[in-house]
Symmetry: C2
Subunit: 320 residues, 2 copies
Amino acid sequence: MSELFIGIDLGGTNIKIGCFDSQLTLLCKTSTPTEADTGPEPVIDKIAQTTEKLLADNNLSYESIEAVAMGSPGQFNFAEGIIISNPNMPLFKNLPLRKMLSDRFEKPAVLENDANAACWGEYTLGAGKGIKDMVFFTLGTGIGGGIITDGKLVHGFADSAAELGHVIIYPDGRLCSCGQKGCVEAYASANSTAKRAAEAIEAGASSSLKKVIEQNSQITSKDVYDHLAAGDDLAKQITDSTAKALAIICINVLHTTEPQRIVFAGGMIAAGDVLLERIKDYFNEYIWTLKKETVEIAFAKLGEDAGIIGAAALAKQLKD
Amino acid sequence: MSELFIGIDLGGTNIKIGCFDSQLTLLCKTSTPTEADTGPEPVIDKIAQTTEKLLADNNLSYESIEAVAMGSPGQFNFAEGIIISNPNMPLFKNLPLRKMLSDRFEKPAVLENDANAACWGEYTLGAGKGIKDMVFFTLGTGIGGGIITDGKLVHGFADSAAELGHVIIYPDGRLCSCGQKGCVEAYASANSTAKRAAEAIEAGASSSLKKVIEQNSQITSKDVYDHLAAGDDLAKQITDSTAKALAIICINVLHTTEPQRIVFAGGMIAAGDVLLERIKDYFNEYIWTLKKETVEIAFAKLGEDAGIIGAAALAKQLKD
């Protein structure tokens, strides 16, 4: 029987679970509601039971599991395998989550934060395959990040490295939910992109997006892209400033850890090539003239499976 | 006879050479003009001859040298030990500098860039002693940087990581010599601090520094600090904006590689506690409210010896 590795992506709403072979080929996957308010023990139990059922349904042996790994949002102490806190799952506080997972599966376990797990997935099998230095951004409700230098994830002194959404690009700029002003997240996340469009319309800007607000009483980042594709000027301006903010953060991470490739993931990349090309345009406009930079800026390739793939790859490392 | 390690700091004007024992105690040091226009071979020869004389003068045996290391400005390929270019030493171009050094000394050699060597010096024996994650800034004519994560220097994909002076903190801001706008170097280097003061006076600001321009036809960063100490308002404003720029870059590197300590070195730290305290004030004002940050912001401890100490520590690593 071949060795199996379980990759888990613990989200506030759903838990995704994937089963992989030793080549990191996805054999099967499933998803189940998190129901975090039932508490950590029941959630861990549910993860194990769901995995058991997934494997049984696919004629795979639970005994063949070699290791499990889980990506989760929150603050951690990775050396100890502890989740310190998670704003969206208040019961997951100061818990030995890695040990709980390992005890329940009776297998070695890895704990990682969700953005790092997705970063490691793209690095291992997606947009970062074959390189050693990468920076990763998830452009969703907020902006998360992951940094790999010389083939290793950077965790930082207190396991809070790569909070890249909170790099300040406009001091004294827009207020971010983190309390800082001018974070890249306050401009270029899906939420901020939509919010900036809504604010501009409220301030009197003319736009085909006005009808969207009238109908839905809100705008999403998808609305902005749809109207961009349809030629709306405001949607273009908003996308341009999102792209400029992302280009500035690309320049800044380039001058910091100097990745070979910068990879963007998350809901925002649904905007497609028009966004990617604008990021590259602004990058070329704002980067220094001292020497030509060879960094590649790309979109992620693994979609929503990045988290379980990355987790499985981390689980497999335990056995390498 | 105890083992000796040679640390070399190759500057555009002078070469500093230090001889260290295996505990990295500085036994003796010297300095000699670089005379880079004589060419790389003569410069390497001079380094070896100066080292030979230094050791003889101090009754140390040249044969006891175990390894040598040199920090130098420029662009490098460290894997190959090649200096690609150095704007201030045009003859040092596409040269196997590490091999040249190793061949001339008949010992193993290490090549590192100057800011990284100084960073490694402070990390090993100075302000970064005892920690594993550090970010280092040299505030001189320009701003250089070094990043250590989990006990290792970050070199980046093409050996150009930690060009921290060129992180953009004010997009579309002041023009930097690198061609970008709004780099931290364009605000907070010694040169930029002095230049901003001169510009303000030209624009009509009232300041006791006006007399300095009239007498010397220029202002230095030291003039700014001297007049700050004497209570000049403009000097205070200029120092404040330097401190704010440095606080923003501290926040940004904290959210990137999350160091335990951020260390400032270079001529600017002669400004003393008044500058350090203002950086900390701005850091506390601009940092997020999500959680309390424990990063320490400190000044370097080794002064001008950081480069030779760091180089010697790198040389010693070859034998560890």
